[in-house]
Symmetry: C2
Subunit: 371 residues, 2 copies
């Protein structure tokens, strides 16, 4: 894997680490947050703005893109980077979670998943080899293996069967990989059972992947449970490979899980909240639709250097959101993503200075644990 590399620059006693991920489309300093571009665009922000606010890698979704516009179409248009107008690193989820949560008539067997598209109802079949082929066609930097996600509350037996299947699918995907310039991560499953998580890690690490993702968390369980499983799992993962905690989370989560030693994160919160008019600030969430902001000429955050805070008042933003104008969603998204990316930069700075997580958590203050 000459095009792909991961280097741990510093590890703190609690497990937190500063790292550097090298991909064919550039370097990602970790811990890093990946804005979510499900269909090839981060909703509410253009690629050049993403760069300006400090995004270094984005997440997209192979299942969604395979449905629309189709992997062959993306290929004909020059690949996913060209489609998106984004020349930085891209990581794609394989779509296992999406096919099982969005499609209808989902039927799993050991060979793969049969489903009907959530877009047009057409019948589809997704095998682990297909998931790899699609991601190779898209031309992404980091691909995910196809995994089986069990619903919250699944029995131990069902969860164990999913772990076994996920490991077998990961092995088949790795075997099927043709592009040496695409990294492939295995996904740890195992629900909320520590021994099953250990079994999943053992199975995947004995095969050996470029990195490891932890899936099946943040699916509605109590946050203590998330933290317990995330902590138990991260200790088992090889130190020299990147660790991606899927679908996490709030600003407080990012601090908490980076402190455990996770390197990569993704979440729709900053973008989705932005579109709803909920803004992240160091003092907590700010609901811009609230009437008290109507005539407030201050920016969302006084010290924020983002394009929204330097140019628009709370009152202006509220007006655009209330009037249903696109600009409202755009301005809120830019601020929220900037907030997330700034938080990651500050964490990396504190890691480099050896003051993370202690100082960072103190500086971050109350909001970090509340949101």
């Amino acid at each position: 894997m000459s095009a792909f590399g991961f280097e741990v620059l510093r590890t703190m006693p609690g497990g937190a680490r500063l790292g550097r991920l090298t991909t064919p489309h550039g370097v990602v300093e970790t811990p890093a947050f990946m804005p979510v571009a499900t269909y090839g665009t981060v909703k509410g922000i253009a690629p050049d703005q993403l760069r300006r606010i400090g995004a270094t890698i984005v997440l997209s979704n192979a299942y969604h893109l395979a449905q629309r516009p189709g992997a062959e179409t993306v290929q004909a248009l020059g690949g996913l980077h060209a489609l998106m107008g984004w020349d930085g690193p891209i990581l794609t989820d394989s779509g296992g979670f999406q096919v099982m949560s969005l499609a209808s008539f989902v039927a799993l067997d050991d060979d793969g998943v049969s489903y009907r598209s959530h877009i047009d109802g057409s019948a589809g079949r997704l095998r682990p080899e297909d998931a790899i082929a699609v991601q190779e066609a898209l031309g992404v930097d980091i691909a995910m293996s196809l995994d089986e996600c069990v619903p919250a509350g699944a029995s131990i037996e069902r969860t164990r069967a999913a772990v076994v299947r996920t490991t077998a699918w990961a092995a088949r995907g790795l075997e099927a990989r043709r592009r040496s310039d695409m990294a492939l991560f295995g996904i740890v499953q195992g629900g909320f059972d520590e021994p099953l998580r250990a079994e999943s890690v053992e199975g995947l690490t004995s095969i050996g992947f470029d990195g490891y993702a932890v899936g099946g968390l943040s699916v509605g369980e109590p946050r203590e449970q998330t933290a317990r499983i995330a902590a138990a799992t991260v200790r088992l993962l090889p130190a020299d490979r990147p660790r991606y905690l899927m679908g996490v989370g709030t600003p407080g989560d990012l601090l908490r899980f980076a402190a455990m030693g996770y390197d990569l994160f993704d979440c729709v919160l900053p973008t989705r909240n932005g579109r709803n008019g909920t803004l992240f600030t160091r003092e907590g969430k700010l609901m811009i639709r609230n009437a008290r902001h109507e005539r407030d000429p201050r920016p969302i955050e006084d010290d924020c250097p983002c394009e929204t805070c330097t140019r628009f008042s709370r009152g202006a933003l509220r007006h655009f959101v209330q009037a249903g104008e696109m600009l409202g969603a755009q301005l809120a998204t830019v601020h929220n993503l900037h907030f997330y990316l700034r938080l990651m930069r500050e964490m990396r700075g504190a890691l480099a200075a050896g003051t993370f997580p202690g100082q960072a958590a103190a500086v971050a203050g109350a909001w970090a644990l509340d949101t």
Copy 2:
């Protein structure tokens, strides 16, 4: 009016002219197209992008802003320029047309208009003095007088009464103006009757305004009728004042009416069409939703230097539009507005070179007259 000035730099035999409009927020080379920012934002494009594509002045709407967020709110937020994040010139329509076309229970008398808001149903009263006060509170560069717009097909008697009322209202508005840094235009009405148009011009010019708008055209009438009235009216307007043809139009219209000697234009076509996936090109309109664009890696226009054409393929744009992603509307809007503003720049270049409208019309080719 020290802050406001208009200079005609060159006039062609057919009446077309190159001009320079000076406002407190900057200079506008004319003929100019004003992107429409009804609620204080040009839908689909941010203020910094507007600047980059060459917009020098935008149009907003005093009636809409008075409804939402309210003139006092805009004032509390530092005025319309601050609200919008736009430090260039702003022209507002007074809202006469909007109140009469959008509000309910509209009742006109010689003193003003009573209506119920189209937003919240609240009762409102708009007198010519109020229209000026609102625009002064917004802090715009160029205000429009309150006018009475008659529906298409109104009788000569009703149309004549509206001309008389519009002139009286314009005089009252001028009398009520307090800000010497805000230019005020009168609006020529008179339907499709040349003598009534002449009467309207005579009434307004005998009072004397900073500029003259021609209203009541492009409201659904045959285009020959628009052209006939526009041509008959423009000849009567004073040469030393800017002339604004309201709500016009297609690229072909811009060429046609600039050739007659109109200086300012506004239209929602480039932005609204953009959001619908209809793109302006030199070869005519391009419907990006059409399946033939699905795998087309070419830009919308090969020679177009806009941020959309230099970075995104037709196929990518189609995908974003089809998927309902905001980016699709944004990219299409940027291209369409860039197309309009480039057309205006080319016209001004040809005017400076003394080759307009002859050469420009020839260069523009078939699309100019078709669209």
